[in-house]
């Protein structure tokens, strides 16, 4: 129970379904602020209070679990080291993989609980083969199956997502009806541990400046310098301080980031398009696809679906996009879908153009 409306309604629904529910607020921040200021950031003391009040209204016990050390090790440090390597990580997937459905779940099971329920928008059904399947939520605008694409069958077997069949507006109305005062609280977005939303600034503070040169992809000419390649991401157009415009007058985009030298390579938009993606460290929600799978992939949070052929070779996954896509950043997750069913996910290592333009 984060103190937000989704987890509050999810807890209420779980209790109504007949489960013996205990509300847990995760204290993930080492230095929690007292009050929420707007929709960025999470887990302030005020949030904990909101969660506690929701638990009171629902009529369930409530405790706070301090996971701040594990969270720092598994999520925050991973986030920093990925950026330091020139990649663009997604910490929410890491948090689900390592904290919410791992550390929390392990402790819960050891204490005698059976499952973790959250306010994530995703649906779980049991297939004809007896395996649990995760599908996209009914509300496609709120669907969070992407960030849950890291869950294995064991983890899915101990998960509950009571909101998967609902639309967000209905959830807010329900919160209101149930007397949960968080009904009108704004949703939090962006990264929960960067409360002012300034990821680049946060990275500069943690990783140092890491300045370097900005070079042209074709000629290798140095076009400018930057103070901090951390925070640049593939496909980025804004924030490049290049003195002179390109010869053809078109905008330039970040094509590559080399972390050791700090060299950022830029070029025109066409160079961003890719159709051949490799990924590693896959996590499968059910069985591992044996044959090449004709399905879709989602390559970033809130990204579009791309039709693709997905081939699995052990710990490596090759994704051939049927139509080229742009701005695919190594470090992000590629989540594979078969219709609305989440097949699994893997971390993007390379993204190339194979087919000629």
């Amino acid at each position: 129970m984060s103190g937000g409306v989704d987890s509050a309604v999810a807890a209420a629904r779980a209790a109504e379904m007949g489960y013996d529910v205990t509300g847990i607020h995760l204290a993930l921040s080492r230095n929690p602020k007292s009050y929420r200021t707007g929709s960025r950031g999470c887990c302030t003391i005020e949030d904990a209070g909101d969660a506690r009040r929701a638990a009171d209204v629902i009529g369930i016990p409530f405790y706070v679990w301090d996971m701040s050390d594990r969270f720092h090790e598994d999520v925050v440090e991973d986030f920093m080291s990925e950026y330091a390597e020139g990649r663009t990580p997604n910490p929410c997937l890491r948090c689900n993989e390592k904290i919410k459905f791992a550390a929390v779940l392990e402790r819960a099971v050891a204490l005698g609980f059976d499952a973790v329920a959250t306010g994530h928008y995703a649906q779980l059904v049991t297939g004809d083969d007896g395996l649990i399947q995760m599908h996209r939520a009914v509300d496609m605008g709120k669907d969070q199956s992407y960030v849950l694409g890291v869950l294995t069958q064991d983890q899915l077997g101990r998960s509950l997502f009571p909101l998967g069949d609902s639309r967000k507006e209905d959830v807010r109305r329900e919160a209101d009806r149930r007397g949960l005062s968080v009904a009108n609280k704004p949703d939090s977005h962006d990264i929960c541990f960067i409360s002012d939303g300034d990821t680049a600034g946060w990275l500069r503070e943690k990783l140092g400046v890491g300045s370097g040169e900005i070079v042209d992809h074709a000629t290798g000419d140095v076009l400018g310098t930057h103070e901090g390649s951390f925070g640049f991401t593939i496909g980025q157009r804004k924030g490049l301080r290049i003195g002179r415009p390109a010869e053809d007058g078109k905008p330039r985009y970040v094509l590559d980031i080399e972390p050791v030298s700090g060299t950022v390579t830029v070029g025109p938009r066409e160079e961003l398009t890719v159709d051949h993606i490799t990924a590693f460290r896959p996590r499968w929600c059910g069985t591992v696809p044996a044959e090449p799978l004709e399905g879709t992939v989602q390559l970033r949070a809130h990204g579009e679906e791309h039709r693709a052929t997905v081939t699995v070779r052990g710990e490596d996954v090759v994704i051939e996009l049927h139509d080229p896509a742009q701005g695919i950043a190594p470090g992000q997750a590629a989540v594979v879908y078969d219709g609305t069913r989440v097949v699994g996910s893997a971390t993007i290592t390379t993204a190339l153009r194979r087919q000629p333009a």
Partner: protein, 420 residues
């Protein structure tokens, strides 16, 4: 769960073993308070209704003074223990400093309640020179450290504040000796006695302390009212200014009904103290013995010598190696048994107890403890209920501790507090 539940999912029959946090209101206190609730009169008013309310306040003041061997004029009513501690520490410090600017030092201990500790930190941020004196492994103040700190430069000490009995591990402090050392140099002494009243004999005049905090809800009175017992000659800077009540020391309309409840509770607690202490000490000793049988490696913190003179009679503070205190608390809560981890909570996140750390426990040990505190309503059945479930609860908490990697070393004698 098959048991009938109340709201918040708890089993309906609760076994309450957290009397140090608060204790049920005594029926006599409820009656005394209720009798006054419908009366309309401000004790400061001059007319008959005011005088009637005033009389209730003054009779209560006399009853409380009698119970602790103080003079009625020495009893200043406040909103409770925290206010009394703030008033004493800030008020004495500022008054003493104003009288002599050399008096910038405050001497206290590492095991004080947060109402004293946080006040000291706040004053420190504003220029006070705070020295927190060490305690021994039993949690008792090392008198030699106090003596040295005072004698190093007595003219610079504004005050000494040492609690009468510790709320977490129940250790009783050597207040008489503290007063002797301080008074030899004319330094005033404050003591937070909220846990001591009604548990051990508290004699304000005999001990000769200058200021003493007590609060109603720890002795079976209502929340929201307490007192600072203050020697008449003691100069103190007030926190609250206004109507000049309580001889200008603490302005604010007096809560006559609550004060009536307070007095009834104090009277009863003190009168019944000897039998109460013997009764709960016996229950507490039974609890310790039988919990030890169920959990052989459980460790008793605080003073191993459980006689009343050294330890609060109802206090049982136990460390369970390999277990996180908050897991134990949650598992017991689910079974209807209510106790405390004894540590301060910030937004409900458990912190390692500063008291245990001050006594020499490591972080892991300091997070593995539970405090059971028995009170005037505790029965043998309560102890039996705890003993019945503690074994399985500890096993589960231990499994959860292992699952979350709690404590890097495996549990064993090395992780336990060695009580010496």
């Amino acid at each position: 769960m098959n048991q009938p539940t109340t709201t918040n999912g708890a089993p309906a029959h609760r076994v309450y073993l957290d009397h140090a946090a608060t204790t049920p209101m005594r029926p006599e206190a409820v009656a005394a308070m209720t009798a006054q609730l419908s009366a309309a009169g401000n004790p400061s008013s001059l007319h008959a209704s005011g005088r009637a309310a005033r009389r209730v306040v003054e009779e209560s003041r006399e009853a409380i003074a009698r119970a602790i061997n103080a003079r009625p004029g020495e009893v200043v009513f406040t909103s409770g223990g925290t206010e009394s501690d703030n008033l004493a520490v800030k008020g004495l410090y500022w008054a003493r400093l104003e009288a002599d600017p050399r008096r910038t030092r405050i001497l206290s201990t590492t095991v004080e309640h947060h109402a004293v500790l946080d006040t000291l930190h706040w004053l420190e941020e504003r220029g006070a020179d705070v020295e927190l004196l060490p305690v021994n492994r039993c949690g008792r103040l090392r008198l030699e450290a106090l003596r040295e700190a005072v004698e190093r430069d007595p003219a610079s000490v504004a005050l000494v504040t040492v609690m009468w009995a510790n709320n977490e591990v129940g250790t009783v402090q050597p207040i008489r000796e503290v007063v002797e050392i301080a008074h030899a140099h004319g330094i005033p002494v404050h003591t937070d006695a909220v846990q001591a009243i009604g548990q051990v004999p508290v004699d304000f005049a005999a001990v000769d302390v200058d200021a003493l905090t007590l609060t109603a809800h720890k002795v079976g009175g209502p929340f929201g009212v307490g007192a600072l017992v203050l020697g008449r000659e003691i100069e103190l800077t007030p926190l609250l200014h206004g109507g000049g009540q309580e001889r200008d020391v603490r302005s604010g309309t007096l809560d006559a009904p609550a004060i009536a409840g307070f007095a009834a509770a104090v009277e009863l607690s003190v009168t019944r103290q000897p039998e109460h202490a013997a009764r709960v000490a016996a229950l507490r000793d039974d609890l310790l013995r039988r919990v030890s049988e169920q959990v052989p490696d459980a460790v008793l913190n605080g003073d191993k010598d459980c006689s009343v003179t050294n330890r609060l009679p109802g206090n049982a503070h136990i460390q369970f190696p390999g277990c996180e205190g908050d897991s134990l608390l949650m598992l017991l809560d689910a079974r209807g048994i209510e106790c405390s981890t004894g540590s301060a909570c910030s937004a409900g996140v458990p912190q390692a107890s500063h008291v245990l750390l001050a006594m020499g426990a490591d972080e892991v040990a300091a997070r593995s403890a539970l405090r059971f505190s028995l009170g005037h309503t505790t029965t043998q059945a309560d102890v039996d209920a705890l003993v019945e479930v503690i074994g399985p609860v500890v096993e589960r908490a231990r499994a959860a501790g292992i699952a979350s990697g709690f404590g890097i070393r495996p549990p064993g004698p090395a992780a336990a507090v060695k009580v010496g």
